[in-house]
């Protein structure tokens, strides 16, 4: 019963987002172009890189293309559902609009996290998917149904990790009020997500594998798809870290919500 109510609510939020996006059609299309250009930029970097060399570590050109495509796909799906909402959180706190959301008879995290849907990002996610399929064809991969399903699950966990981490960063806004700089900083982490983990060593690698597991987010699914997975350890650690970070993020959210002091009057 409860689930049904939330589903209906979410449908209403979707309708709202569609209406909003369609009132600025030109802008909507231009944002898709912007994201597409940046995606093209990353791909052209791979192109230039492989003019210089045959392999990066054990990654060949089309595997790298697949990695860039997958990280774009995961990033865009994340962006579609959560990004705007995460960046808006500090604004909700600063202006005191959070009061209104706290009063609603729904889970506050649900409404804060899913209020707006970025529809353009779905289209960009599709471009990411196309690039991945093209790369898979170039690599002559023929993944079975189970592999593709596994890949989908891992991507889902990746989106969850991005969301857990960024939502926590945004919740710092309960103390600093202006947390947009912090959220913007997370954008830099997307940059590492599309690099092969073999490029990193030592403390840096440990930090972005365990503390902020962005390195795993797109590396593990692509390794699974491209038959590069050496042991199931990486796979299991991605799943485990996804759960751990989701739990920490929920705990941190409850903890920081207690520090909310409304802005008005």
């Amino acid at each position: 019963m409860n689930l049904k109510r939330y589903l209906l609510l979410y449908v209403a939020l979707w309708k709202n987002s569609v209406t909003r996006e369609m009132s600025f059609k030109g802008n909507f299309l231009l944002w898709i172009v912007v994201e597409l250009l940046w995606f093209g930029l990353q791909l052209s970097f791979v192109g230039v890189l492989f003019r210089q060399t045959q392999v990066v570590g054990t990654w060949n050109q089309w595997q790298m293309v697949m990695l860039v495509g997958a990280s774009n796909f995961i990033q865009q799906v994340y962006q579609a559902f959560f990004l705007t909402n995460c960046t808006n959180l500090s604004e909700l706190i600063r202006t005191g609009k959070m009061d209104f959301l706290l009063l609603l008879p729904v889970n506050t995290r649900f409404i804060v996290s899913l209020r707006q849907v970025d529809l353009g990002a779905f289209i960009n996610a599709l471009f990411g998917l196309c690039v991945m399929i093209y790369a898979a064809a170039k690599l002559q991969l023929h993944p079975g149904l189970l592999t593709v399903l596994g890949f989908g699950c891992l991507c889902f966990v990746g989106v969850l990790i991005h969301y857990s981490l960024m939502f926590m960063l945004a919740a710092i806004g309960f103390w600093t009020v202006r947390a947009q700089g912090i959220v913007w900083g997370y954008y830099n982490l997307f940059n590492i997500a599309r690099m092969p983990d073999e490029a990193f060593h030592g403390v840096f690698k440990a930090m972005f594998t365990f503390a902020l597991p962005v390195l795993l987010v797109s590396n593990v699914p692509v390794c699974l798809l491209a038959d590069k997975l050496v042991s199931p350890a990486a796979l299991l650690s991605l799943l485990a870290l996804g759960l751990v970070w989701a739990a920490i993020s929920e705990w941190f959210w409850r903890f920081s919500l207690r520090h909310y002091t409304s802005a008005s009057s």
Partner: protein, 266 residues
């Protein structure tokens, strides 16, 4: 002239209010920089002493130099602020006061850069210190001088381009998409992502006809001694020409815009 010195002074003060923001930005920007360096190290570890005439130390130093030039010359939020000034009618006061808006914004740009350098210098120096084995002195005294001149021109070119871009706010409500599109081209074609001489020759020739290489790649390659003699002198002249062109475009856009401008409210 003194009034503009006041603007710079105030600009520095108001920019230093956000010093932690600057510091956070600088620290965060080290992550992709470090990642890039690691990636190239992996490439060199896989074989090959030189790629497109860069050995490992040179390519790492290239990215370090890009970071330095970026801190010194990049337009931070000036374009957004200018667009907001136009949209919200703040420029009305400049039409009444004996203050030239472009010069005013240029002063704010300079003060923004000074404040940013003040905050970013120490962490950036520390970062570079960690990679000191890759750091090389400028190719020659001549190169150093030309580098400094080119640096100033780069900053001006970046500023005038952004200013002209922000003038679109006279006609359009929302210009951030255009700013991002321009930024994407700048990022790729100015050599942020990789040295431009790694591109296929045809593309390099095409790029030479655009202002983009002069927004980053040109000063960096002067420092590295990859641009010498007549090519250097000619390059500086072309850069100067692009600065002049961007300046004229900025002025022209302002004059056209101001005719269209209708201020709302008081």
């Amino acid at each position: 002239m003194r009034k503009y010195l006041y603007v710079i002074n105030i600009g520095i003060q108001s920019n230093l209010t956000y010093r932690f923001n600057y510091l956070a930005r600088t620290l965060f920007s080290f992550i992709p920089l470090f990642a890039m360096v690691s990636l190239w190290r992996t490439v060199y570890a896989g074989g090959g002493q030189e790629h497109s005439g860069y050995d490992q130390a040179q390519i790492i130093f290239y990215y370090l130099l890009v970071a330095v030039v970026d801190v010194l010359t990049a337009v931070n939020e000036d374009d957004w602020q200018i667009a907001a000034d136009i949209r919200e009618g703040n420029i009305s006061q400049f039409l009444l006061k004996p203050v030239d808006y472009l010069t005013y914004r240029l002063c704010l740009f300079v003060s923004g850069r000074l404040a940013y350098v003040a905050m970013a210098a120490l962490p950036l120096a520390l970062f570079i210190f960690c990679f000191r084995s890759n750091v090389a002195p400028p190719a020659s005294t001549e190169a150093m001088l030309a580098f400094l001149i080119s640096l100033v021109l780069t900053a001006l070119l970046q500023f005038f381009t952004s200013y002209a871009m922000a003038m679109l706010a006279f006609w359009l409500l929302e210009i951030s998409t255009f700013i991002f599109i321009l930024f994407a081209f700048e990022y790729l074609a100015s050599g942020h992502l990789f040295p431009l001489d790694m591109l296929p020759p045809t593309l390099q020739h095409i790029l030479a006809f655009t202002p983009f290489p002069y927004q980053m790649y040109f000063p960096v390659s002067i420092y590295l001694g990859r641009m010498t003699g007549p090519a250097l002198a000619g390059g500086l002249l072309i850069q100067l020409a692009w600065v002049a062109a961007a300046y004229l475009l900025a002025r022209f856009m302002w004059h056209r815009g101001i005719k269209k401008y209708a201020a709302f409210g008081g």
